[in-house]
Amino acid sequence: MSESEVALGHAAVMEEPAYALPPKKLTVWLFIISDSLTFGSILFAYGYLRVGSTNWSTPFQFPSILNGMIMTFVLLTSSLTMLGGVLAAKAGRKSVTVRWMGLTALLGLLFAALHLREWSHMIGEGWRLFQNPTGGSVQFGAAFFSITGLHLLHVVSGVIAILVVAIGFNRGRLTEGHVETTGLYWHFVDVVWMFVFPLVYLMNAAR
């Protein structure tokens, strides 16, 4: 009996699912594929305009890059703690799961806080969606804020989802399947950052 058949209470009445994945997990994978294309489109737009630009700025000095490296480390660690949560959930250890997931959410919030601090610093220097204080292409700000903003939106929604699922799992309303699919989404958010950081930060490091 597959997970999905048990989950739906229809053991032995249904065909084996095509990918041996329960519906919720399959759906999260499909969402990830779809969201990858969304991020891909916006990164394509950035690349297209950057290649075509004659006055692209590369404003990120070492402190910005260091900040980005710290943010990367924080997010990668949060994926590790999320994995801890998933393993604990599979072992049925509720309080341990909640602790791991709580730590993940905290690291996610730390990432968001570091990000927003950097944003406010840049805004203070005069960067906007439509303004470049160094006199270079105004599209730098547009690309930077829209890409990192979209990613930040995914981080914040992920943090909320992690907290909701952690509480729900603790109360017995949600299963380890939910923890696993939340983990899947969180790892995706991390993978996207592994593209955003090199393409947006490292490629625009000051020469």
Partner: protein, 592 residues
Amino acid sequence: MHEASAQPVVHRHAPPQGFIRKYVFSLDHKVIGLQYYGLALAAVFIGMVLSWLMRIHLGWPALPFPGLNKLSPNGAPGGLMTPEYYLSLMTMHGTIMVFFVLTNAPQAGFGNYFLPIQIGAEDMAFPRFNMMSFWVTFLAFVVLIAAFFVTDGPPISGWTAYAPLSAVGRDAGPGQALGQTLWGISIALFCIGQLLGSLNFISTTLDLRTRGMSLARMPYSTWAWFVTSVIGLLAFAVLLPACILLILDRVAGTSFFIPAGLVVSDKLQPHAGGSPLLWQHLFWFFGHPEVYIAILPSIGIVSHILPSFLRKNILGGARTVVGSLIAFGFLSYMVWGHHMFLSGMNPFSAILFSVPTLIITIPATIVVLLWLGSIYGAKIRFDSPALFCLGFISLFISGGISGFFLAQPSIDIQLHATYFVVAHFHLVMAVAAIFGIFAGTYFWAPKMFGRMMNETLAKWHFWLTFIGVYCIFMPMHYIGLAGNVRRYALFNDDYMIPMNPVHKFMTIAALATGAVQLIFLYNLFHTRFWGKKAPDNPWESTTLEWSTPSSPPPFDNFGGKYPVVYRSPYEFVEGGAADYVIQTSPVEVGTH
């Protein structure tokens, strides 16, 4: 053996109580399917009225339209349309028809209703997502229609919303302020609704098939809805950020699609660094798969309906038909540049798009030849669903042939943005898909409403519409070849004067064909409430939707029992009491 009938069944949600739960915020895929269908019906009516206004203006440009000046004092002063007013009609006609009719009815309408039943499931995998996706789509429609009522009116940039016209704001013309922003919001919401729907369709098809319903035994319509969902999942994921970037350009001062130094209406635009070509790439990377999303469900529906009226399976069987559907889906992502042959792109890159475009004619030709080969020598039952399927095939061929010409950049230089293109996409996509929707309606009405539609009215509807649409769209090929440009409100050049009688003819045909649709509307509503009661399987078909214990099917589709499937769909036999074998029948008979 029928262990299934002895199994206890766990319903995932209880039968709904109360009017709101049953008919408004319903979780039942059948109700949601009909809601989508109803939305498409409202949308097609609005889209048709817009096209009538356009056609009357094109046929009689100097004739004041009575009452129009009261409706739109700025857009049609004295009853004469300004060019911008015409363009706004054209934009809304395209947007409403492509998104809210063609992407809606065949996929979300019939797909929602029949996909779970055809695979033996009691509902979609995620009924709440399903409900959400309908209401998000409905909200998108309301936001779009709101554009008609804002001060400046609806946008004028076409359903393709090319930058920089769509991105610079009010300087570009009336409708380009709030109207265009509402358009962007509406389409972004529509993308979300579609993405939710795709997730649902794919999970349901892969995970909820009943015992015996292997992927190979799914009906062609189910396969088409599945492949379309996969295409949609990827395509709408690209349109969503494109619309968001467009909205940012319009309200947040970014310049994704606006280059430096652009002067519009004598005003230098405060933007720099963007590219109108970027919009075209993003839009058409979505836009080309979108037109396959519009047509593939109808291809599946027609392939599904035909065997019941030919009393044999489609030539080539599941492998060839499904293989063609998958080839369509895969290739649809490689051809977007054929909309951009005249955008200034490198002519060598045009070849990179022209070749896959010509290759995609292969699966299209295969399905057409399979249909024609199946029809040859068959004892056809000429009921209305069959007539509309035959009409579909005719329109698909007629519209498809012009595609071979447009696929070649050298010829496209002459034909791009002429009425030749308008003829092509209306015949091959718009009208063909409408015929697919009609075929599905007449075929499945007995199951959805438990009543038979009036065959005499149906046949009048078919013949008058069939002749009518050819009268409207065939002449467009000729005037297009002669150089009649599309998206123009007025044709003042000398060479255009001889073409005006053709425009008048097409207008009369359009109005007449539109009036004929009243026959269908009357038939549909009369049947729904007062039609003759239908037997459970009036067309003697073989797939699971005809095995439900009642018409319309009960709340959980199969009345507490899960069907078990023993055979492939479309098995028709010689001899015996009946010439067909339903999928749930375990009895061994001689098959051919």
